[in-house]
Every structure is written in C-alpha cells, then in structure tokens.
Symmetry: C2
Subunit: 215 residues, 2 copies
Amino acid sequence: MSKLRVQSFSVSLDGFGAGPAQDLEHPLGVNGPELMEWFFHTRLWQTLQGGEGGETGTDNAMVVRGFAGIGAWILGRNMFGPVRGPWPDDQWKGWWGEEPPYHTPVFVLTHHARSPLVMKGGTTFHFVTEGIHAALAQARAAAGGRDVRIGGGVDTVRQFLRERLIDELHLAVRPILLGSGEALFQGLDWRALGYTCVDTIAGERATHVFLQKQT
Amino acid sequence: MSKLRVQSFSVSLDGFGAGPAQDLEHPLGVNGPELMEWFFHTRLWQTLQGGEGGETGTDNAMVVRGFAGIGAWILGRNMFGPVRGPWPDDQWKGWWGEEPPYHTPVFVLTHHARSPLVMKGGTTFHFVTEGIHAALAQARAAAGGRDVRIGGGVDTVRQFLRERLIDELHLAVRPILLGSGEALFQGLDWRALGYTCVDTIAGERATHVFLQKQT
C-alpha cells in the first residue's frame, strides 16, 4: 500500500516546527523563516520558484527525495492560508501564487466547505471537512498507488501521528532556537506511539533525521 | 573571567536530557543510557573508566574538548545520587566509584548540609546549601582562573540558564525518541534569554551543537 510520509519538515533545536503568531505577514510565524533557511538554498526549491541556481549538496538531495513518488498532498488549513473561520470568498488561493509547488491533488483540512480550486501546473486544492481519516482516504484514492505526503503544519502532523497513520517522517533539525512557537514533540509521546529513528544524515544547514513507525 | 560551561550534555531528538523515573537502578532514568550511547564509545570515557580502547573520532574529540580547561564542577543533587531528603549517613559517595572522573573540586547543590567528601584522583565533593549563586562563587574560587563546568542534570542546567549564568553550552543531540523524561527546553525561552547556536558538528552517534550567550 502507498505510504503516508512527512518530508523535509523543519524543526528547531528546541522543538518548534513554526514560529508564534502566524499571519499574512508571517506565514511561518515570527522568526519561522529561520527554520527553512536550509531549504531556501536548495536547487530544487529555486527551480520550483521558477529561478535558476541553488545548491546541489546533501540538503538538496533530501528535498529531492521528499518529492519523489508523491501522488497527493495533505495540508492543514493554516498551512494553506491565514484565513480563519468560514471562507468569506474564493479570493485566497494559497501562499504559493498561480502555480503552487505541489503538481498533484492537495487535500486541505478545514471545518468549512469550499469548492475545489484548480491551479496551474497540475495542483488542485480540495477542501475536506470530514476529518483526517476522510482526507487520507481521498488522498490515497487520488494518489493512484503513489505515496501521500503531509505538508504540515505542526498540528496536522500531530493529529496524524496520534492516530499512528504516518509511516515515515523526515525531519530537518535546524541549529537554531526559536524560543516559542508550534511545539512538535511536547505532550506527545512519539516513542510510545511506536516511532523510532532509523537514520541521520548531516546536511549543509540542517541535520536530517529519518523516523519510521514500527509495525 | 573564567567561563561557566555545559559540555557533552546529551539531549534526545524530542528534547529530553534524561529518562523518567530516575532511581538506583536507573541513574539516567528509564531508557536514559540511550542518550549517552555516543559517549560510552569514546576513548576518553573508556580511559576514565580505567579501560583501554574506545573510538577516537569526532565524538571523542568533543568529549576531550569538554574536559579541557575545567577547574571545578557543579552537579545537581540528583546527578550525584538517588538519595532524597536529609543524608541518612555518609554511605553514598556518588555513582562513579572510588575515583570519580572529575579530578577537581565538585560542588553539589543540595538542601541538606554534609561534610566534604574526599575521593581518589583529586575529586572532592563539596555540598552547597545556599543555592546556585553561592555554588558558582565557590566553584569559581576553587577553579583558580580555569572554567567551571555544570555536569547536570537537566533541572540544574535550567536553573543556571534562567539566571543567564551559563556562557557556553555544548549539546550532543542524539537521534532517538525518549517520549518522556526530563525536558530540557520546554517552558523555557532560550532565545529570549539570549542564547544562540554558533556551530554544529556531525559526530558518529550524535550531532554536536554549540550555543553561546550573547553579551
């Protein structure tokens, strides 16, 4: 069966996966871009942005690995945008412009129904109001045998972890202190849930740690 | 002035510096030895144990660095032993046998007075009941211009951090999940306290992260 994977998920030394006070000006929370500093330098990210250049070392290889074999994505509402509550209109189309970097169906968790949103480059946002199990079932069906990737944010990853639905996680541990923000580990016993570290790779700007669910 | 340093301090991926339920059988808490797995393999540790062999790679170099220039140590009561409350007698002499690996004066934080304890190899345990500032003053005086090292445990490190007394920290981040135990970061904003990461070095079994207090 296709796997449910978390890839290239940044976490600070002190365990935060996003900064505090996310809003329109701070999609990753205050100081959140420091978490992604390893990612912004990679060639794949530069290419997805329509640019040229970028580095081709270990960090880039980890990003490439994260996109391989993915047939659908799942995102939390807050990762899709800063809008809270019912959708006032169809204006908000994500943080990523006309051609988002997903190029697959993307299932957005929300409590508020909205029609699918077709973007350039093969990305269609589907809005799922029936919870994480429904989102996973729809994503698996859409993925056509390929894997499903959870993009985030922190709360979404933790919801799927709690139900032991995630098969593999790749965390990019950044040597920074955020001090506050969205805590990835706090109050959730990953070990008791059956997760274990299986590999570590030192990148240029992050330490890449790979975790698997024990069966 | 001599520095106050934390060295070779192990922390799990999920932020625990010791396992839960420390007692006589579990000096590092349940599953705590997994935190030290990088340390046990080093040549310096093997040598301090009176043995031969051990590895001489990056992890060992980090341990060596941690012992260099240290003139006195500070330990929390729980790092010294499992005895709680008033000392029933002078039987407990630490976890480390007749010749502890410190070879300097060691200042043990406790609420219960006890006479100094002279061990083999230059280690003398002094029991300080007047709090962390008094312990630091005594340790600095004893160190004779060299640095003072905080051995741990987690609560002791956090007490000194809260007062911004620590100049440098070297954390050995282990790619393991403890799930529960003594949380190093939780509820303490290291960034707001003025700490920042200045270097990262990949070792054989841990990622070594170096932090400094900004002046």
